[in-house]
Subunit: 326 residues, 2 copies
């Protein structure tokens, strides 16, 4: 049994690491795991795909809404999605967690379990190769993810060509709807995040809330798209319009999205979908997880049903966060 | 000219990144730099050494004492030292910076310049392969460093054998003295960090203060020690006694340090030296940067001149930090 008074401060960094390391998966590519000055990861083809993304209490999540498991899960999922969006297979994570001294060790264990379970479900064989634990006034998860391209070229944002089809794998809109629900109904009378209301909301709208708090990006579809000949790909994290515009700009093309294919009810500017948006040559067959939602043309920017897309294309209610609540 | 009112909030993440990326060195191993979902780094021998270390305002540094350039420099230096301590050549960094919305862009530029200059001086050819910039209540630098072993085995902590000599490269004691000076004389009448006093102190004691705020670990001596046959090595970051005890424990040996060789005036428990402590077989010649300070024996733990070492072996005045000042 864990006494509720055990904290990062009372156990110390090494004490907490002793509790956490056994919970973390080693990973098939881990040649040397935690415990020395650095770790060693296999990079079979002589290259390694690397990315880092940080989640910060306040701007990126609220403890009243997310469980510790959600936090470890989402930090893992968002980094794995960036690796997958290159067409690479995730091989390992470095996890740097900073937390207030009074953080219960059970919270840190929950975060570790989230790292573990997200690896196991989203990228089997990917493990935690090392990390860092520090005291900070602000709970922060800085995860670095590694990936293997299997000798192939990476799929960049810049390779889309006129005539390609545009396809997406993963749900659009659920995560953004979940976040809207949380800001509308997961708060108390003063508008502050409320754990009980958020839990009730999650029970009523599990798909949307979990898409926001513990997303399941289609990691395996990244390498599958590369094998199928994808010419460009990215992780849709800031809204379909904005992210499609990034491919269009990097590739020097226009992307036209078809409302009928995307779905009328989808907010094209809704963020954090963690879907994979890719372009495929006309003769290619996108992998099973993908559905065609548009096409690549000469020109620039993004159009919807042939007409210019309106609005900024991205949306972030956390911008209004006041720096203390939740 | 830079207007002083330009901040992370006013320029936005992409605006700031546009200012920072051009300042960062690409690095010889960078195959794909910032701008896509992930970066790609060469890992010539099919493995990559990886490590991450986080610096947090408050527990790890004070803005009244460190310049932005110092922060980028130290975050780089401490991570490079962990790579070097494996016997690896640093090849790249991922830099994740979180900063309050009101942070002037000039501060972020200064941090970037610190990353650049530390790479150039300490590990020429090592560059910044990617990163992340986010808004947070707490200024934090989470740096991940990568290294190449050139086909050789890594030098772990566990390889020291009775009969080996123990040698160190880098200054001992200066950084700890610098920190003591800052806490004693770099503060105002209330004991709060004071920028003017710290600047005056730095002018009077540049060696000690700069060893603390902008350390120069002997990075090239890490791979050199590996080539010379080092059996064990680590980066001395928590005090010579504690870090020698780590090699002793991992290797299942006793390490005896000779006061006459270490120097009488050196605080054996002083932290953050970022020196490299290594064991070499008796027949090996430690590289030029190393000086012998002890020997490996059967047994366990650390002795000094043959007698048990006293005290905890580590020291951290930041433990007393109150979470708001400086």
């Amino acid at each position: 049994m864990t006494a509720p008074t055990e904290t990062l401060a009372s156990l110390g960094e090494s004490g907490v690491l002793g509790r956490i390391f056994p919970r973390l998966p080693a990973g098939q590519a881990t040649l040397l795991g935690p415990g020395d000055d650095a770790a060693i990861l296999a990079a079979a083809d002589g290259r390694v795909v690397v990315t880092t993304d940080t989640m910060i209490h306040g701007p990126d999540f609220r403890l009243a809404w997310s469980t510790p498991h959600d936090l470890g899960w989402k930090a893992t999922a968002s980094n794995l999605a960036d690796v997958a969006a290159m067409g690479a297979q995730p091989t390992g994570l470095l996890v740097a967690v900073t937390a207030p001294a009074g953080t219960p060790v059970t919270v840190l264990e929950g975060i570790a379990d989230g790292f573990r379970d997200a690896c196991a479900e989203l990228a089997p064989g990917c493990g935690v190769v090392g990390g860092d634990l520090s005291v900070s006034p602000t709970l922060t998860l800085a995860v670095t993810a590694f990936g293997d391209l299997g000798g192939a070229d990476a799929v960049l944002r810049s390779g889309a060509r006129p005539g390609d089809v545009v396809a997406i794998s993963g749900a659009l809109g659920d995560a953004a709807r979940g976040l809207r629900l949380l800001f509308a109904e997961g708060v108390d009378a003063d508008g502050e995040p409320d754990a009980d209301r958020a839990a009730a909301l999650r029970a009523r709208h599990p798909r949307e809330i979990e898409a926001q708090l513990a997303p399941r990006p289609p990691i395996a579809d990244g390498p599958a798209a590369r094998r199928a000949g994808a010419t460009a790909m990215l992780d849709v994290s800031d809204g379909l319009l904005l992210d499609a515009a990034r491919i269009a700009a990097a590739s020097g093309v226009r992307i036209d999205l078809a409302t009928a294919a995307v779905g009328d009810e989808v907010d094209l500017a809704g963020g954090e979908a963690h879907a994979l948006l890719a372009a495929f040559p006309p003769a290619a067959s996108p992998p099973a997880g993908f559905r065609v939602i548009g096409a690549v043309h000469t020109g620039e920017g993004v159009t919807v049903d042939g007409a210019p897309a309106e609005g900024r294309g991205g949306w972030d209610p956390y911008d209004d966060w006041d720096g203390h609540a939740g």
